[in-house]
């Protein structure tokens, strides 16, 4: 890693030029991000495993993955085939995101705890990396790198899956169910990307709170993050007879989707394909409007809370195990 630096010969101290300071910072930050993927290999191995499993389902196999389709569906018109295509794009992405949520939860709970548990924290702290940069790199991985990476892997999986499926259809090995439709693909992927951006912004305080728990807990992080809210809910119910805590948890989990009326939009987009009712994504796209999410003040207030949590996690990391 050679970064141009001006070296003063008498002291042997390298004095980076103004322009290269930000480049140094960037390369340092990228190193911190890479480090996370070295330590937490599930972050990249799991999505690849999910992609692999999905693709195996598309490959010419007999028996286990044979799909039974009734004759009615074979004779679908092009519009319905496009609907199925769009639905397949969405449906193939769902496993990726479900697995991502699980992997991310474990990652976030572990990432500031493991280094204290295995006592490697003093090694990391012997290098000129601030607590702020360390926490920022972990937040960046959990909030941006993994979700965006999952989106990319899901997209590639979808394309490969569709390619394999279409090849099989050409040779008559699988039902000619879906029709390639570039516009539908772009629309679905755009919708999912927008949904992803809203999710990242909305769930940011949740992500940061898990990081904070990871920096705070002296042991048993998982127990803390489940027990504390649970006890808070029960105590509140018994002591005051109110439900603010459970209301807050529910709101920060589903609130944004309720405010966008996602459920109503889905129900309003049902369409008949063959003999069953399914969601028509082209119609869903007309019904759903992500826009109001970005004018929701709670979305932006949540980002301030995210910053506060991250700051607190960095402060905790400074002296946590020094009792």
């Amino acid at each position: 890693m050679s970064t141009p630096t001006a070296v003063s010969p008498d002291e042997g101290v390298s004095v980076p030029r103004a322009g290269s300071v930000s480049r140094l910072r960037l390369s340092m930050f990228m190193t911190l991000v890479r480090r996370e993927f070295w330590e937490h290999r599930s972050l990249w191995m799991t999505p690849l495993a999910v992609a692999g499993l999905l693709l195996i389902c598309a490959l010419p196999t007999h028996g286990a993955f044979q799909i039974n389709v009734d004759d009615g569906v074979q004779l679908l018109d092009p519009q319905h085939k496009a609907i199925l295509f769009a639905l397949a794009q969405w449906g193939l992405s769902v496993p990726h995101y479900l697995v991502m949520i699980i992997v991310l939860n474990f990652y976030l709970l572990d990432c500031l705890y493991a280094e204290r548990k295995d006592r490697s924290i003093l090694f990391w702290k012997s290098l000129p990396v601030s607590d702020g940069a360390t926490v920022a790199s972990k937040l960046f991985v959990g909030l941006i790198v993994v979700p965006v990476g999952t989106f990319a892997i899901a997209l590639i999986t979808n394309l490969l899956f569709t390619a394999i499926w279409n090849l099989r259809a050409i040779f008559g090995h699988s039902p000619d169910l879906v029709l390639w439709d570039t516009v539908a693909l772009l629309k679905v992927e755009t919708l999912m990307l927008l949904g992803l951006i809203v999710s990242i912004l909305w769930y940011a305080p949740l992500v940061a709170s898990l990081l904070l728990a990871s920096a705070w807990a002296r042991r048993n992080v998982l127990l803390w993050v489940t027990l504390v809210p649970l006890v808070a809910v029960i105590v509140e119910k018994i002591a005051f007879g109110t439900r603010y805590v459970s209301g807050l948890i529910a709101y920060r989990t589903f609130g944004i989707w309720e405010s966008l009326h996602v459920e109503a939009a889905v129900l309003g987009s049902m369409t008949r394909v063959g003999q069953s009712e399914i969601v028509s994504l082209p119609r869903l796209l007309e019904h759903i409007n992500i826009g109001p999410a970005f004018t929701n003040i709670d979305l932006w207030l949540g980002l301030i809370v995210t910053g506060l949590f991250a700051f607190a996690a960095a402060r905790l990391r400074r002296y946590r195990d020094d009792s």
């Binding site: 890693m1 140094l24 190193t31 911190l32 890479r34 480090r35 490697s120 090694f123 290098l127 000129p128």
Partner: protein, 285 residues
């Protein structure tokens, strides 16, 4: 800014116990300082204070910076090995090099690689696959390739066999140390490395009990070995420590000229280990 470390009146308590009572000392550049004291004396607390790893009261400057508020800047000039087993077990050797190269502007990767080539450590190995001695070698390879001005070592060779210990300090002295650098070492194995130090700092019960250069010790302390019949006369000169060795009595005097004692018995310069024992046992609580 001439001093590497300037500490004045460091205080630190953990709940009811006082880890540091009132610790003051200075460390000059180009020295190898042995920070020596029994278990629980406060050595590690002093080191943690210097490295900005703990809160404390008092005044402390390292390269003119306060480790409490300016730790991030300080760590460009300071390096430390806290304990042998701190490298994360999942880390690969090549990743360790990549990481330090990525975050430390003064890391010379080729230097670390040259050092590792002389060992049995392979680039693809994970830390968990290495023996304890090899982990220390790897850590040392990383540290030696960093152009830092202060190196702090807290029991760096604990749990290693003699061969690794010897090699560790030889490498440190031959490949690393020069007049620009300062090394601060705590260890229990004082006898083994006492001729490495240029300065010693004895600490006991949270206080500094001796601060001296090694040359200064010879003029200040004298060990006198006398036959038992001479012991009473020697005691009149008030040794601060004595013990029996093979039927004779070894006494240590502070601030007495060797010529004053020579008529009583055999005169020696006490070793740092002797002085350490004397200071710890002799010092009234």
């Amino acid at each position: 800014m001439t001093q590497v470390i300037e500490a004045r009146g460091l205080k630190k308590s953990y709940r009811s116990t006082h880890a540091l009572e009132d610790v003051s000392f200075t460390v000059e550049p180009g020295r190898i300082v042995g920070l020596i004291g029994p278990n629980g004396a406060g050595k590690t607390t002093v080191l943690k204070a210097i490295l900005g790893l703990t809160r404390f009261e008092g005044e402390l400057r390292v390269f003119g910076l306060d480790p409490r508020s300016q730790r991030d800047d300080l760590m460009h000039d300071v390096c430390f090995i806290a304990d042998v087993a701190v490298l994360p077990r999942w880390l690969r050797v090549s990743q360790a090099l990549d990481f330090v190269a990525g975050v430390h502007p003064r890391f010379d990767r080729s230097r670390a690689e040259d050092f590792l080539r002389k060992t049995d450590i392979r680039m693809k190995s994970r830390v968990r696959e290495l023996s304890k001695g090899m982990v220390t070698q790897l850590h040392l390879a990383l540290i030696l390739a960093i152009d830092a001005r202060l190196l702090v070592l807290d029991e760096p060779t604990l749990g290693l066999d003699l061969l690794y210990r010897r090699q560790f300090y030889d490498t440190l002295l031959n490949d690393y140390f020069d007049k620009q650098r300062t090394i601060l070492v705590t260890t229990h194995q004082v006898e083994e490395i006492e001729n490495l130090f240029t300065d010693v700092l004895f600490i006991n019960r949270g206080r500094v009990v001796l601060e001296s250069t090694v040359e200064g010790l010879a003029g200040r302390f004298v060990q006198l070995i006398v036959k038992p019949e001479q012991a009473a006369r020697a005691r009149e000169l008030r040794p601060f420590h004595e013990r029996e060795v093979f039927g004779r009595v070894a006494m240590i005097f502070e601030g007495r000229a060797a010529s004053e004692l020579a008529s009583l018995g055999e005169i020696r310069t006490p070793s740092i280990a002797d002085l350490f024992v004397a200071k710890m046992q002799g010092a009234p609580a």
